[in-house]
């Protein structure tokens, strides 16, 4: 029997009662079968941790990952449409877990951020001067790129990791899901089907697969999304080294509807990510014509992109994240707002894996043990909305931009100084720390004092310079 359904009866002894816990308990047992729909980071992390945790308690289960996409293809066919940044904290956590990203996967190690504003530019460096942020291709690189080794794709690398842990990768498109005597059944487009003890949905937000669960989970509603823009520019390596270097370039420009934009170097490509309110061609053109952006390209000329897409990102969690024998993980459930989506996929995938191995696969098990991990990300996203509101205010008000720039530049020049603004900006741009921690850093008594001083000094200096320029010209 591949699962346990136990009812507490009058005859059960006390130990059995506490062992059983709930009236009806669903757990994985030896021989249980699990289906994972989607072989992106959420699905592969879930599989990897599930199999590792199961092995640690001698639980013999099998996992099938349904992923029709081959990450060996270049361009959109092999890509999961994402900026492709593995955050500093995730790189460290994975190393601690024994997962080290090989150089073939890391297209560029990032060691600093360059913040561009109309009032100036400042480089924010990591305190250890070490490359701990990974710029990766989710697939096998953009169109026109040299093919990477098969394991050069980040998603391909994780899928291989899951497969080497014992998972079976099924290269088929799932066309329907249904219940088969109380257990989830997965049907593929070629007509084959299989019944499982647990179904984990890790299909990305841009996947049509999210429409497949109306029958088995009528309460599920896909997350709310926001349209973004991602494109790849091909540039000579020397130009990339000279104009971009081992840095991610972020832009806080006063352009209507623009929330945030970044240029990320990867191999011989430069990835542009734009987040904003209903990103369209007009917004992209305005952004690319800004002098601060042009200055990042040789001769100030922005080349035609080699590849581009308008993927959607999760901005509000799905209405239902779990049920009996079914769980949604990654973008199809809850994700961190704007930053470190791969990191939040890792967190929820691991929480889901721990729940199914150590607790059970009923809705109640997920509510108790998986729900809190999702809840933490949701609450953090509420704080994020406030922080990005402040960031938008800074984008719109030049007076504030001058103060932020001056404070950051001063901190970067003085090695021994406490880097209040730098660490806030670093964690905000890199997505390395929860938004709550970013906010808490601004509560340090020195932060408002230093910001106040730099706002005054930065704007007075500017007024004096303008005054003397006016006098000189007058």
């Amino acid at each position: 029997m591949a699962f346990v359904e136990r009812t507490v009866k009058e005859g059960d002894n006390l130990a059995a009662f506490f062992e059983g816990g709930e009236e009806r308990r669903l757990t994985l047992t030896d021989g249980s079968r699990i289906a994972v729909i989607g072989g992106g980071p959420a699905g592969t992390f879930f599989t990897y941790f599930l199999l590792r945790l199961a092995e640690s308690i001698d639980l013999d289960v099998s996992v099938d990952i349904y992923e029709p996409r081959s990450f060996a293809y270049q361009g959109p066919a092999g890509c999961n449409h994402c900026g492709g940044i593995v955050s500093e904290s995730l790189v460290q956590l994975l190393a601690t877990e024994g997962i080290n990203l090989p150089p073939a996967v890391v297209q560029r190690g990032i060691e600093s951020y360059v913040l561009h504003m109309d009032v100036g530019t400042v480089r924010i460096e990591t305190p250890l001067q070490e490359k701990r942020i990974a710029a990766v291709f989710r697939g096998n690189g953009p169109r026109e790129s040299e093919p990477l080794p098969v394991s050069g794709s980040f998603d391909g690398f994780l899928l291989e990791l899951a497969a080497s842990s014992g998972a079976r990768v099924v290269r088929k498109l799932v066309s329907a899901t249904s219940w088969d005597t109380g257990r989830p059944r997965v049907t593929c487009s070629d007509g084959t089907s299989a019944t499982y003890d647990l179904l984990a949905v890790a299909a990305g937000i841009n996947s049509q697969a999210l429409q497949l669960f109306q029958e088995i989970a009528p309460g599920y509603q896909a997350p709310k999304t926001l349209k973004t823009f991602i494109c790849e520019f091909r540039l000579p390596r020397e130009a990339l080294d000279k104009f971009i270097g081992p840095s991610m370039h972020v832009f806080l420009l006063d352009i209507p509807r623009l929330e945030f934009a970044a240029l990320i170097p990867k191999g011989e490509f430069l990835t542009l990510c734009i987040l904003g309110d209903d990103v369209d061609n007009a917004l992209i053109d305005t952004f690319l014509s800004a002098p601060e952006v042009k200055a990042c390209f040789p001769d100030g000329q922005v080349p035609a992109p080699a590849c581009h897409c308008f993927p959607r990102v999760n901005v509000e969690a799905a209405a239902q994240l779990y049920g009996d024998r079914i769980v949604w993980i990654g973008d199809s459930g809850v994700a961190r707002l704007y930053k470190d989506g791969i990191g939040s996929a890792y967190r929820v995938a691991k929480a889901a894996a721990k729940t199914v191995v150590h607790h059970g696969i009923s809705a109640e098990d997920f509510r108790q043990h998986y729900g809190p991990a999702c809840g933490r990300i949701n609450s953090d996203n509420t704080i994020a909305k406030f922080i990005f509101g402040v960031s938008t205010l800074i984008q719109r008000v030049r007076f504030l931009r001058r103060g932020v720039l001056r404070m950051t530049a001063n901190e970067q020049q003085r090695r021994a100084a406490r880097r209040h603004m730098s660490t806030v900006l670093w964690d905000l741009f890199t997505g390395s720390a929860p938004y709550k921690e970013v906010l808490t850093r601004t509560f340090h008594p020195e932060f408002p004092a230093m910001l106040g001083w730099n706002l005054l000094a930065g704007n007075l200096a500017r007024r004096r310079a303008n005054g003397s320029k006016g006098n000189a010209h007058g």
Binding site: V91, L93, A95, N100, V105, V106, G109, E130
Partner: protein, 146 residues
């Protein structure tokens, strides 16, 4: 350094961690080999272990809040990734299973050390036995001559 390398390169012979220092980081070896040596009180040192890519070191000083109990030096050029104490400890409190890999690695190290201690003990016992045998042989003829 190639663009796709994470972490930092250390030249052959570089001391990454010194015995007696306060530790703030854990290191994950990405490439290369390192040796763990224990400094003797009277001078000199004993090699305790050789570490390879995939190994982690420096965790004991973090977990115990103690000084580093051994020196770690590169045997080849090595690329290491630093894991901050703060990042590690705060995430371990959120997700204790994060320490599982480190526990497993420590258990492996203890097993290896136990095996080495056992071998050393056997060698010492063998030498003592040999010395006793030699002594018995030397004493034997004298007695008979007397």
């Amino acid at each position: 350094m190639a663009n796709g390398n994470l972490g930092q390169w250390y030249a052959k012979g570089h001391v990454v961690v010194r015995q007696g220092e306060i530790g703030d980081n854990i290191f994950a070896i990405q490439e290369g080999e390192l040796e763990v040596v224990k400094e003797r009180q009277g001078g000199g040192e004993i090699r305790v272990a050789v570490l390879h890519a995939g190994d982690i070191f420096g965790e004991m000083a973090i977990l115990e809040k103690e000084q580093r109990n051994a020196t770690v030096r590169t045997l080849t050029d090595a690329r290491l990734l630093t894991v901050d104490k703060k990042t590690f400890m705060s995430r371990v409190h959120e997700d204790p299973s994060l320490a599982f890999n480190i526990l497993r690695m420590m258990a492996k190290r203890i097993r290896t050390l136990n095996a080495k201690l056992g071998e050393r003990r056997s060698r010492v016992d063998r030498r003592r036995a040999e010395r006793r045998n030699v002594g018995t042989r030397r004493k034997g003829p004298r007695r008979s001559a007397a």
